[in-house]
């Protein structure tokens, strides 16, 4: 049965006899349709970018080459994303788009983390605060305008022509409340978010900014970044302690 589903080789049905052919066809159709539908749902903007025919050709090629292995179908899109470089060699925008949609999908069911909000600012002892990514936080390095194309397609607008960048941009993906979202990061912000994959002390953030910008500018930049992160719900508190009582 496994060999039949993976290959659809007619020799297998010939061996088993004509009486089982209709049943085997049902199982084969269920298997392939389910995987194709899974990839369509995981990569709706990639499908729109490539067009239905090209996307389906690539998806079918992937389904034949790479059967799912996990207990959940939600794990299957990752294997398509890993293979997209082979399926579309040199198509940087498609590669970036697929990774963006995969990250957005993963953020949907990532572990819940309480985001930092402005209301928390006053009560926190910033000497002891460490920050980390919000739910589903992930940084993607894009070498194309795939994010711009994604946004245009999501607004049902004509997407811009795909462009490749000489200098890559960093994109932060995370989940704000229940909605996966993304935005482009400033270079200094991207450096900090890379470090925030593990908890990063706020004092370290300030020190790094000070080394680059000087004391006064670092203070202003730290305040601006913190406000932006709180408004976006883009970071969580990984560790803290309450201010000591007098």
């Amino acid at each position: 049965m496994r060999e039949w589903l993976e290959t659809g080789d007619p020799d297998i049905t010939n061996r088993l006899g004509d009486s089982v052919r209709p049943g085997l066809d049902v199982y084969l159709n269920n298997y392939r349709t389910q995987l194709l539908t899974c990839l369509e749902h995981a990569f709706p903007r990639t499908l729109a970018l490539l067009g239905r025919d090209q996307f389906h050709t690539a998806a079918r090629c992937h389904i034949m080459a790479q059967p799912p292995t996990a207990w959940t179908l939600d794990a299957y899109p990752a294997s398509f994303a890993a293979e997209v470089g082979t399926l579309f060699p040199g198509d940087v925008a498609t590669h970036d788009m697929v990774r963006l949609e995969l990250a957005l999908g993963n953020a949907q069911t990532a572990a819940d983390r309480l985001p930092l909000t402005r209301a928390m600012f006053v009560d926190l002892d910033w000497e002891h605060v460490a920050l980390t990514h919000a739910s589903g936080g992930q940084i993607l390095r894009h070498f194309s305008n795939a994010a711009e194309i994604w946004s245009a397609l999501s607004r049902a607008e004509s997407p811009p022509v795909a462009k490749t960048f000489q200098v890559p941009i960093d994109i932060l993906v995370w989940r704000s409340t229940w909605v996966p979202c993304f935005r482009t990061l400033d270079p200094d912000e991207a450096e900090l978010f890379v470090q925030m994959t593990n908890p990063l002390a706020f004092t370290d953030i300030c020190m790094q900014l000070e080394q680059k910008l000087g004391e006064q500018a670092a203070l202003e930049r730290a305040g601006l970044l913190l406000a932006r992160w709180a408004d976006d719900e883009a970071v969580s508190i990984a560790a803290t302690s309450l201010p000591s009582q007098p």
Partner: protein, 274 residues
């Protein structure tokens, strides 16, 4: 007491959360909530606060010759601990082996060897989950010449050996009977109904050669008749309408549930008259 509920799918969450529906329980697909966080789990817990929830799985792969996936069952246990479900169920089938997952409910040959394998897995799964599990009779599109006993006998022995319960899917009985050429009324007559805790009622579609268990249509008269027959012999069960595709407004499903209530009442009258 007979309970009446619905298979809850995404389009109807809002209806269930905001309305005052006469639902004794809802059933959800376990795998859709076996994740660390996010909205699906939060919504499920909101629903759970309103009514009992049954967890229905499709990936336990209880018939895998390669063994039970303990990691999967522990994940299920974690969800069970959060939801405290009315029932935990899956299917009598295999879905995967190491390195391959079909994401479909694939048929088993009903032999003593397979019975031993499934019984061992049921014991292990119930141990990990910490409660009885129910197994559903699957829709079949082919059968095995190696089978040594009919499906109802296989399930009956399995219940006796493991203490598991059964989820009788009446539509699956009808689909399998039409596809494999057996009499659905005989199947229902011989099914171990004393082990049935839950009943699914659903629709199907006509494929090129076979009936397909699509859950995308209303319930047909033949399935309603089989359901009523089953209810003349069933004990206290939880009955529900299962719809997974071509999903109508919830009012349409509640109308079908009203038919289920009426058929169940008719069955009770038939039982008291006999």
């Amino acid at each position: 007491m007979t309970l009446f509920g619905l298979g809850l799918r995404k389009p109807h969450y809002e209806d269930v959360l905001s309305g005052n529906m006469k639902l004794d329980f809802v059933e959800v697909i376990s795998e859709n909530f076996m994740f660390p966080g996010g909205r699906p789990l939060a919504d499920l817990l909101a629903v759970r606060a309103k009514c009992p929830v049954a967890l229905h799985g499709v990936s336990m792969s209880i018939g895998s010759a390669s063994g039970l996936d303990h990691d999967y069952v522990h994940r299920l246990r974690a969800l069970v601990d959060v939801v405290d479900p009315l029932f935990v169920s899956d299917h009598l089938c295999w879905t995967r082996v190491p390195g391959f997952s079909s994401h479909d409910l694939l048929p088993l040959p009903y032999t003593q060897e397979v019975l031993d394998i499934v019984a061992n897995h049921v014991h292990a799964a119930q141990e990990i989950v910490g409660r009885q599990i129910l197994l559903e009779n699957p829709s079949a599109y082919l059968s095995f010449s190696q089978s040594e006993m009919p499906e109802w006998e296989f399930l009956s022995v399995l219940c006796e050996q493991t203490g598991c319960g059964l989820l009788l899917d009446v539509n699956n009985v009808y689909v399998s009977a039409r596809n494999l050429g057996f009499d659905p009324a005989t199947y229902i007559a011989r099914f171990p109904l004393d082990h049935v805790r839950q009943i699914h009622i659903a629709g199907h579609s006509q494929g090129e050669d076979l009936l397909i268990d699509t859950h995308d249509q209303t319930v047909c008269d033949e399935v309603w008749d089989l359901f009523e027959t089953a209810m003349t012999r069933a004990g206290p069960v939880a009955v529900m309408i299962e719809r997974d595709d071509n999903i109508p407004p919830i009012g349409d499903l509640l109308d079908e549930l009203a038919t289920a209530r009426a058929r169940a009442e008719a069955a009770t009258k038939r039982r008291s008259q006999s």
